[in-house]
Symmetry: C2
Subunit: 355 residues, 2 copies
DNA sequence: GCACAAGTGA
DNA sequence: TCACTTGTGC
């Protein structure tokens, strides 16, 4: 039996990390009244469409044209499976990097790799050379490398990374080579594209390093920006790279690299560096990390209420609902005692958030 | 015979303003060699897709469900017709404004109207009350008001204003009331939506002012932002408001209002005001107007070469081609003597501009 | 490579 | 309302 996204990549986790995360994310602490008024469909300004991302995408789940030999069936229990991004070299000492790091780059490349943060900054649709090292592999062709993009924040880690409406258009040049739904592309003749549980990934066969080099190089491209509206939408991205046994799909090693696909890789890399520097310099309160503070990991030892999520969809729904509530509260706070209603024609009444 | 976009709104103009504009826009002055190398499909970094906007949109030109009584046929010659935005009150003294201008606004509205510049700043999908005045109309119901969005810059004035891919999605809340293709909506029970020559507009019947007021108020909403990628795309917008004879479609009056649909109407209005102020203060070179410098209107008295555009599509094609060339030149200038080609695997070769 | 414009979280 | 982020023109 074979599996493409195997059980060590998609981790089945009833009341472990995932639920811990749910407890943290869904922080309704004795706020049942708040909850009620929030959930009242007449009172609060939410509409279902705000949760539209949660709906399973209109079955795009068809398998890509793949060499029949690699046709595979997932045996993975789907419920509560969450992608793992812990680095794990495994027996083959599987490692990843991107060559030509910034400090030695002579000419301005359309990408920068920060080795310490394991973060790649790249423009869209440029081929970035990932270098893989491994050892103790008798027959490389029996293994393959999979690249799977996921969201970094726990809030969104369960959401499949999908392309935005604009770049999904068939006439978009990024789709000249097909694989319209795939954010991550591999410039490799034997790349094969997979869609499993709504998640798009690409695999390439493992090969021996080119003569004279000690690493196997694969070119990956990214077909949406981190900022793509209706797609990645400014969320942080990780690229999970796994070494797999081709026949069984078993994971033999794993590494993850953060990827920021943006127009000015160098500028943004530099900005991150500066930020890092100033944060260390002033370990005080400093400036709050603007981007996605991500719920406090351990939190206080006090009794915590939580909502159990039965499946990923529910989890996502709840997380989203929570965020909507937070937005709602903020807006209520912001408005506070709605000013004497004007002529009732002057301004639009309760309206959904358009974006 | 009836016409919805009549001949005074769409002006037939062979060798007049339009061609003047072409002369200015297409400024190939003795640059045939430049042109050649530019047009060589192998040498230069352009691809057809960059001109994709020029292609006629996949026939969305179906008429909206409209009361049969208002079903109309256009008798308008299409070639070289260009929208007019000169204010023209006409015999009925047709005038437009938006009430509640900023200086007297107590509470922060989601829109601001600058009367002097005749410019509206508004958030997306909020109902903005336009006030119309007119006089000498015996039977208002025989007339109607049309709202047609067009691009302000001559570069783009021939391009129909279309919604972006994101807001065009059927599940977008802005489409709950239908009219998916329409950027401009009227909050009026008898609004009727038109699509003619790829241009979307909306009409409402003219009515008598509400008792006690001297103006007829109509609520308009805007269903895309000025910045919408793949749609308006940061271009400046005008809303052309025409008073029409309902039966004949004849134009009796016309006014135009610039509209900026953005997230922070007040901020952007304030910014414009400041800009205006500082520009007057320093009438010297000052800061170059960043946005769309729009080709120098009269230019020097020297012999000017120009390319004749036979029809709007060609015109648009040429304008776009010209802009592409400018981009190409800039990029060539920027690169100058391409550095010794690297390992040929490090960087992506000639690639189209992804966006 | 800089500076501006403009969406967005807080 | 402020400040940050980030696409984009030049
Ligand atoms: Zn995208
Ligand atoms: Zn839009």
């Amino acid at each position: 039996m074979t599996s493409s996204l195997d059980s060590s990549l998609l981790l089945f986790s009833p009341d472990d990390e995932v639920l811990e995360q749910v407890k943290v994310d869904i922080g309704f602490q004795n706020l049942s009244q708040d909850w009620d008024s929030y959930m009242d469909p007449v009172e609060h300004p939410l509409k279902e469409h705000q949760l539209s991302e949660l709906e399973p995408a209109p079955a795009e789940a068809k398998e890509e044209p793949t060499p029949p030999a690699q046709k595979q069936v997932s045996v993975q229990p789907v419920a509560n499976s969450v992608p793992v991004l812990d680095g794990w070299p495994g027996v083959h000492q599987f490692q990843v990097t991107v060559r030509r790091r910034p400090e030695q780059a002579g000419r301005q490349l359309p990408y920068v790799y920060s080795a310490d943060g394991a973060k790649l900054y790249t423009d869209m649709m440029v081929a970035v050379p990932f270098s893989f090292t491994y050892s103790g592999v008798a027959d490389p062709s029996a293994l393959r490398i999979r690249a799977l993009p996921i969201y970094r924040e726990s809030h969104h880690i369960q959401t499949p990374v999908r392309r935005c409406a604009i770049h999904r258009e068939p006439q978009d040049p990024s789709n000249d080579t097909g694989h319209m739904m795939h954010v991550v592309r591999a410039d490799h003749h034997h790349a094969s594209y997979h869609v499993e549980q709504e998640r798009c990934s690409v695999t390439v066969p493992l090969e021996a390093p080119e003569p004279g080099t000690d690493h196997y190089q694969v070119l990956f491209k990214f077909a949406c920006m981190n900022t793509c509206v209706g797609g990645i939408n400014r969320r942080r991205l990780m690229l999970v790279l796994t070494l797999e046994e081709r026949a069984s799909g078993r994971t033999l090693g794993r590494q993850a690299v953060e990827v920021k696909v943006c127009r000015c890789p160098h500028r943004d890399w530099r900005a991150d560096e500066k930020r890092k520097g100033s944060e260390q310099a002033q370990p005080k309160a400093s400036k709050r990390p603007r981007r996605e503070p991500s719920p406090p990991p351990p939190s206080n030892g006090q009794q915590q209420l939580y909502v159990v999520a039965d499946d990923p969809a529910m989890y996502r729904y709840l997380v989203e609902a929570r965020e909507s509530l937070l937005r709602y509260r903020r807006s209520v706070l912001a408005e506070q005692a709605p000013p004497a209603p004007l002529s009732r024609q002057d301004t639009a009444p309760v309206k959904p958030e358009y974006r």
